[in-house]
Symmetry: C2
């Protein structure tokens, strides 16, 4: 048997339609449509691509965007000042910092500077903590995308053995929190893990975001597993994920492709978060 | 070989001495010693015991305490109002809610009502999120106690296979975050886990907080493992933890007893947090 390949673009379209229709309703009583400001520092091919895709997606559903670009040697203080201005500007309903940032900038400082009500990515300590406490109004976009895909594919989570290959603040840690909230048994692996295969080969659901091409082969995957590939790696042969599709496709039951899997759903989830920050800024829950 | 039994009371004493000496230094330039207010709702034997032990420990190191007791049928709104008064009272440097609360009260609402600067338990969304982002100034007391014990016993964490049996907001989830921050491979099990033994028997470090006497027997433990028993269960034969000591003691290398293990260290960690909220309230970092 060959795995069913999950159609991330189709799932994203459903989400975008939901967002567009919710916005249409909101705009019947709201004076202004949402305006979201993105901040980027320097250029990075995959960041530039994401920005463009996100801005297109915003346009489609009726979210206005603008974009502040800083040169790579910008001082942190100057970005902070810009964030404070955006926090205080009632015409701005959300702020989005594009990662990765140059390493001399503190991601933690910049996230903390954004007002929690305008934190589109759900990464401000207050929103991240609320997510862990079960208030999931503003959860980080990538973990939210993974949950959305699993829900769309009617994969139950309670009691499942789930392995996440990533322990970052943006992906692995919040995703673990969300899955635990749903009573899954969760193992979080990463580059320091002694024996990845021992974990991954027992997983009912394997979620990988390591950024290492062909890290996950058929040997790493349990028969009938669900495999979600979050990685987006640019190689000279094009974009790929962590999964060696050729060897995994005969073992897994469900598999997300790269591109066209988690990526488009992540962008759609960021639209959902934008509507949430907009509602909060407009005094709704 | 028989496991070394960790002396939690001795570790707690070291922490209490550190706290006392830090406070002594702080009080040279501060006008008032710390005042911490505890809130309890109804009576519960183990809560009452903890409260008493904590108040004694506070007294020893020079922290003043007071205690607001509410009857079991108190309305949430009334507790909220009290919390707001305490938030605005500059003579109060920390607020402590004693769990468990009667189930009709929302733990999340009450935690959120405490000003993050006065949140002794580190459970306010802002502090919990900050912990996950690596800012560990105010981390929940029990996870902090586990880390303190492991550090005191010079147990390295990076790359270790660690299993936590508990997925609550107060213990399992923040503990997982803190261990991932230290690059351990972490699995979180709980009552919905299909096969606990498969996880626990592979753990270099097993941390259990299920509240089920004799849940963890020798068969659940890997040879030379470190076993940390967080549970405190009152039985007719006295207080015990999750671990069946008789069968585990010959397999593990290190083991915390109950009582006298994690409990006293948790209380000492709450004193550390009280000093932290005091410093923040007094305008220090």
């Amino acid at each position: 048997m060959t795995a069913k390949i999950i159609n991330g673009r189709a799932i994203a379209q459903v989400l975008r339609n939901d967002v567009a229709s919710e916005l249409k309703t909101l705009l019947k009583t709201s004076p202004a449509s949402p305006l979201i400001t993105s901040i980027t520092v320097g250029h990075n091919p995959s960041s530039d691509l994401y920005l463009k895709l996100r801005e297109n997606a915003c346009k489609e559903v009726g979210i206005r965007t603008n974009h502040l670009y800083f040169e790579k040697n910008i001082r942190e203080k100057q970005i902070m000042e810009t964030i404070h201005q955006l926090n205080n500007d009632p015409s701005v309903h959300g702020i989005f910092i594009q990662y990765p940032l140059p390493t001399y900038l503190s991601q933690a400082n910049l996230i903390r500077a954004i007002h929690p009500n305008k934190d589109v990515e759900g990464l401000h300590p207050y929103n991240l903590g609320a997510t862990y406490l079960g208030d999931e109004r503003l959860t980080p976009c990538t973990p939210q995308a993974v949950l959305t895909i699993l829900k769309h594919e009617q994969v139950s989570l309670q009691g499942k053995d789930i392995v996440i290959v990533n322990h970052s603040t943006i992906v692995g840690k919040p995703l673990a929190g969300l899955l635990l909230q749903r009573n899954a048994t969760v193992s979080i692996c990463h580059v320091y893990t002694k024996d990845l295969k021992r974990y991954s080969s027992q997983a009912d659901i394997l979620i990988t975001a390591a950024g290492v091409p062909k890290l996950i082969t058929g040997e790493h995957v349990k028969k009938h597993a669900v495999v979600i590939d979050v990685a987006v790696i640019e190689t000279k042969d094009g974009v790929c994920g962590d999964v060696d599709t050729t060897s995994v496709v005969d073992k897994a039951d469900l598999l997300t492709p790269v591109p066209g899997g988690v990526g488009p759903v992540t962008i759609a989830c960021s639209l959902k978060n934008m509507v949430q920050t907009y509602k909060t800024c407009m005094g709704q829950k």
